[in-house]
Amino acid sequence: MTRRHAASLLRWLWLGAVVVVVAFPVYATVVTALLPPTDVAAGRLVPRPDRLTLDNVRTVLGTAPLAQQYLVSVAVTALQAAAQLTTAALAAYALVFPRWRGRGVAFALVLATLAFPGESLVIPNFQLVSGLGLRDTVLGIVIPYLAAGYAVFLLRQAFLALPREVWEAARMDGCGDLRALVLVVLPMARPQLVTAAMWCALSAWNGYFWPLLITDSPQRRTIQVGLAQLVVDQVTAPAVIYAGTLLVLLPTLLLVLFGQRFLVRGLAARVTT
């Protein structure tokens, strides 16, 4: 065997190992969610096709507030991701195209927000949202997260890589800032825009601690909080917990599967800029 073949074999082996490590938890979740509880108790992880069932998923959806909590999560994700994307695009545009004094400092301040752990902001946010009378509302969950430093950073790097001449030409032709952003800049940065949208959506969907803190009624809580209660309530029925996990995981999986082209391209573009 030549050295090149050996290297190639090693690379494939390594890739295979990584795939197994990454894919196994997902596989175990899907299979366990679709097996009857008796098979799960017996530790069977290779399912017999005739024994697959949707009973566990039905049990989860039948658990009173979970379907409602799913809708709350969808609303929170849509609102939060849209708001973050809008504020990030506007901020990144302002940081890249118009030249003004202090934009370096402004960007440094945006970056500095990434250094604060989210937990340290919980109490001031709680006070603010309670003060606004938005406790136990969807808006209350979303309002502290209308802007995200990481999304600004991602889009700023993307905009920096764009040919400035195109923007200048548009401006010379009388295009205003907002039109230049929407019609010229954003279409050119589409891969990174999709990456940022996915990042915003995933972080909104996966939020747990803040939605738990700011909501009290089960029907206004997000699915992640509902899943935490499901784990405690159904501790003796792991198949039901996995079915709940599968339902929560599904949008994330779909987003990554359909968006991975943009995700990789967007992240790579950021790195090479």
């Binding site: 747990y208 601690f209 009290d216």
Partner: protein, 475 residues
């Protein structure tokens, strides 16, 4: 109870740790804010006089009581059933809205946030180790005061002394226990018989250690004992040795705890006995997870196990038969030593809550601690009833006759002397103390560190946590 956090999946435990970190960060700010106010009845720190029945009688509309808790599964359902029954019995007068707030750590983190914005619940159910923090936060009215102002409701003399002792400081009951667990020794009857172990030797720690060695020598494939290596168990070894975990007086007197004690001769001996079992390969290391210890015991990998009384339910679910539950063994004098309780208690909030709401909250607490509610709750959840009148119930006696392990738990609970040692350490720094102690002890039990240096290091690290906490709280 110790098995609750450790029974959570890794992700939830990570969340619990994040929440605990958040709580620690928030403590300084919150306690400083609380300490700054000497308050009236509805604002700031709790004043002295507790409201009586007239406050509720004067309410024009139905009074709403909010309740936060961290109970899930059968216990959560049993609690909700009791609340539904209370609401029905008090229709038109009191409406209780209960809300699950995640794990105990999540719930207390939310409570900490709510203090600053004035949005605490009327009644907070919080776990054992948060008692010191809740006392220091000064948001609540003591159970002692509420009982004195409302003599027709809960009679505090009916509370089991060991549980009452845990939630008492300066001779005053702070909160009313709701769900109480205790540590027990579980033995696999068949394995013990095969190794010819005499059960009468299992009342002391040395007797249990000798039995563990005997089992492992007779049956080399079987380990002698396992236990979850989490913070609760080092507190139990200390209480069973009859000495305080923190000084002075387990933080029960005015001034509070200033240091952790791990290096007394009694502790050195008890910790040393257990650590040696592990370093000699007689003990099975299953980490800090109570469920992992339970699974190993249920699978016959170990002949004995220390675990919370909550494990009785787990063993039943695992289909285990042929085991016995025995009292937690002592290494100190039976007159002062014993097991410390775990579980959670009900705190009535005063700051920001009307007098009528406080009295309505106390009515709910009294109902949940009543013998009838406690009997139903104990049967459904597996916790030990905290009202001594339950002992006289014929249906409870019939239940115990059919469920031997619960009878052992009940007897241990009743027999535990209410002493300084069994009261456990009352300090707002307890979550941090556990974080400091557990890693050092795990190193000692795995043989990576000598027991003496581990105990000294854990004592120093935990004392530093207590000092930091006191400084932040302005004590």
């Amino acid at each position: 109870m110790s098995t609750f956090p450790s029974s959570l999946p890794p992700r939830a435990r990570l969340r619990a740790r994040v929440a605990a970190g958040c709580l620690t960060t928030a403590l300084a700010l919150t306690l400083t804010a609380c300490g700054g106010s000497d308050g009236g009845s509805d604002d700031g720190k709790a004043a002295d006089a507790a409201p009586g029945p007239s406050a509720l009688d004067g309410a024009k509309n139905a009074v709403t009581v909010t309740l936060w808790h961290g109970l899930g599964g059968p216990a959560g359902q049993a609690l909700q059933n009791e609340i539904d029954a209370f609401n029905k019995a008090n229709a038109g007068k009191i409406v209780v809205k209960a809300s699950f707030q995640g794990s105990y750590a999540d719930a207390i983190a939310k409570y900490t946030s709510a203090i600053r914005s004035g949005g605490t619940p009327s009644v907070m159910i919080s776990n054992d180790i948060t008692s010191g923090y809740l006392r220091d936060a000064g948001q609540t009215v003591s159970a002692q005061d509420m009982a004195a102002a409302n003599p027709k409701d809960l009679d505090l003399d009916k509370l089991r002394p060991a549980a009452r002792n845990y939630y008492t400081a300066d001779g005053k009951l702070l909160a009313v226990p709701l769900n109480t667990s205790m540590p027990l020794l579980y033995v696999n009857d068949k394995l013990l018989d095969r190794a010819k172990v005499d059960r009468s030797t299992l009342g002391t720690l040395t007797g249990v250690a000798e039995a563990a060695r005997k089992v492992h020598a007779a049956l080399p494939d079987v380990k002698g004992i396992d236990q979850p290596l989490d913070g609760w168990w080092f507190e139990q070894l200390t209480a069973a040795a009859g000495v305080p975990y923190c000084t002075p007086d387990n933080g029960r007197k005015s001034g509070g705890a200033t240091a952790l004690s791990l290096t007394s001769a009694a502790q050195r001996s008890a910790f040393g006995i257990m650590a040696k079992l592990y370093t000699d390969g007689v003990g099975l290391d299953t980490g800090d997870d109570g469920n992992a210890a339970l699974s190993a015991f249920a699978a016959g990998k170990t002949a004995m196990m220390f675990n919370s009384s909550g494990a009785i339910g787990g063993l039943t679910e695992a289909g285990m038969k042929g085991y016995s539950a025995l009292p937690y063994p002592l290494s100190g004098s039976p007159s002062t030593a014993g097991a410390a309780i775990g579980g959670a208690a009900m705190w009535v909030d005063r700051a920001g809550h009307s007098a009528a709401e406080q009295v309505a909250g106390w009515k709910l607490v009294s109902y949940l601690a009543s013998p009838e509610a406690q009997e139903r709750f104990a049967k459904a959840s597996g916790y030990a009833p905290i009202n001594t009148d339950v002992d006289n119930s014929s249906t409870w006696k019939a239940f115990l006759a059919q469920h031997e392990p619960y009878a052992v738990l009940g007897k241990q609970f009743a027999d535990t002397p209410a002493t300084t040692a069994t009261s456990g350490c009352l300090s707002g720094a307890m979550p941090g103390v556990r974080e400091a102690v557990v890693p050092e002890m795990q190193q000692a039990f795995s043989g990576k560190k000598s027991i003496d240096s581990a105990l000294k290091a854990a004592q120093d690290a935990a004392t530093a946590k207590i000092k930091d906490y006191r400084e932040q709280a302005g004590q």
